[in-house]
Amino acid sequence: MGKLNVNLCGIPLDNPVIPASGTFGYGYEFAQWYDINRLGTFSFKGTTREPRFGNPTPRIAECTGGMLNAVGLQNPGVQAVIGEELPRLQACFHKPVMANISGFSVDEYRDVARALSACEQVGWLEVNISCPNVHGGGMAFGTSPKAAGEVVRAVREVTKKPVIVKLSPNVTSIADMAKACEAEGADAISLINTLLGMRIDLRRKAPVLANTMGGFSGPAVFPVALRMVWQVYEAVKIPVIGMGGVSTAEDVVEMMLAGATAVEVGAANLVNPFASLEIVERLPEVMANCGIESLEDIIGGAHRT
């Protein structure tokens, strides 16, 4: 069997498959259905300093090849995550977890990062500067290289753990964003968050989502995500985590050939709760079919041909 293991910022992963933030809760609920230790790791639900209910419903809409969500960073707040969610996770997950953090100010990002960095279970901090569903936070930091750099600098100051910056595709130059984050000390870049989209209900002649707009994800966005992973891989020296529409083991290999060291799986988890596990299980077969002995060897491989 080929080798699936990769190394993400100095922490080994048994395989590169990582359920993406917002599609896997805090993990333990999926552990009722299968052993989540079979995943590389997972990125938990985006966490802010205070508890947030998020946006009004409806928060979900469908579209061809995917979906829109406007959840709006619902989460119980960092103290409850540390006090309640992580202890529950500890009972069923024995690997370092990726902590996804968000905020509405540079100070908030710093506070949440400091608190979660102190948790032994946390392996990486994934700093979400790309949520399209909240005003004044999230994506506001992810569409300007200067603002993104300020967040990265603030988080960098309070943690020695690897800092991964999750980028928004809703920018003119994804490479410039990635470079700004790298310059301020980011250890890795993950991309893409969702694309800003909307739907209109023909009966009500009004937007489907209560928030009007939402984040578009699902298999339809895969080519866009792949292209951006390709561009960021060429722009920076730090590792890239690819995500966006990944739903098969073949997609994982494609992302890695474009330059991804690891690959996050998002919307696919919502239509098939076993999607991430099934991808892990099928990777060896796909590798064998493609003549790949070790996944680590193929990272960025398509740039070298």
Binding site: G22, T23, F24, G25, E29, F30, Q32, W33, K45, F53, G54, T57, P58, R59, I60, A61, E62, C63, T64, G65, G66, M67, N69, V71, Q74, G218, P219, A267, N269, L270, V271, N272, P273, F274
Partner: protein, 244 residues
Amino acid sequence: MQEKVFEITANTEIAKDVWEIRLKGDTSGMEKPGQFVNLSLPGFFLRRPISVCCVEGQELTLVYKTVGKGTACLSTLQTGTLNVLTGLGNGYDLERAGDAPLLIGGGVGVPPLYELARQLRKCGLPVQVILGFNSVCDVFYEEKFRDLGCDVTVTTVDGSYGLKGFVTDALAGKHYSYYYTCGPMPMLKAVRKQCAGSGEFSLEERMGCGFGACMGCSCKTTEGYKRVCREGPVFRKEELLWEN
């Protein structure tokens, strides 16, 4: 929650735009009335959550309304198989029924009450049922509830069948220990205002996953944020905040 494959054995229109689909497969884990399943449909990304109407042996019956492209697609399927996530959500609590439960259903809120009525009748309880529809062409399952031995009152908004008016217009003179309801939000609000005592409400919301992962269907309750798909869809009257 379990992922199963069911075989379609029948799919028929039983009222205007209302369809009853019968599926054969492993129905374990769907014992509680008020639970739902999430169907994967060919050509659609998201699954379609549909409440369980009846579970008997290997047969699972669902009743749904064609309200969009997905359910319209479902109505065209006469044979073949469906990938189904089963046993989703928390159902109605039978233990609160008391000695004279009342079931109030509106439109496609009626189906989950059928399995509830079946189970309450199995417990030997007298069951009163109020079924509300817009018009005579929308009425379904009246006879099926009667066949269970329920005391059934049908209302139609336009008066074309049964008692003219809303479900709440059929409350006069009814004595009940507890109520269970499912239907559109305006109906649920009216029931909550006009029904004496306590009861349980089944809510509807657009869902992403249906099993608690995406936070797409959250609602605020007196006990904090809950997910319609996971902690719900059935909530006690005292839990709900009745905002908006």
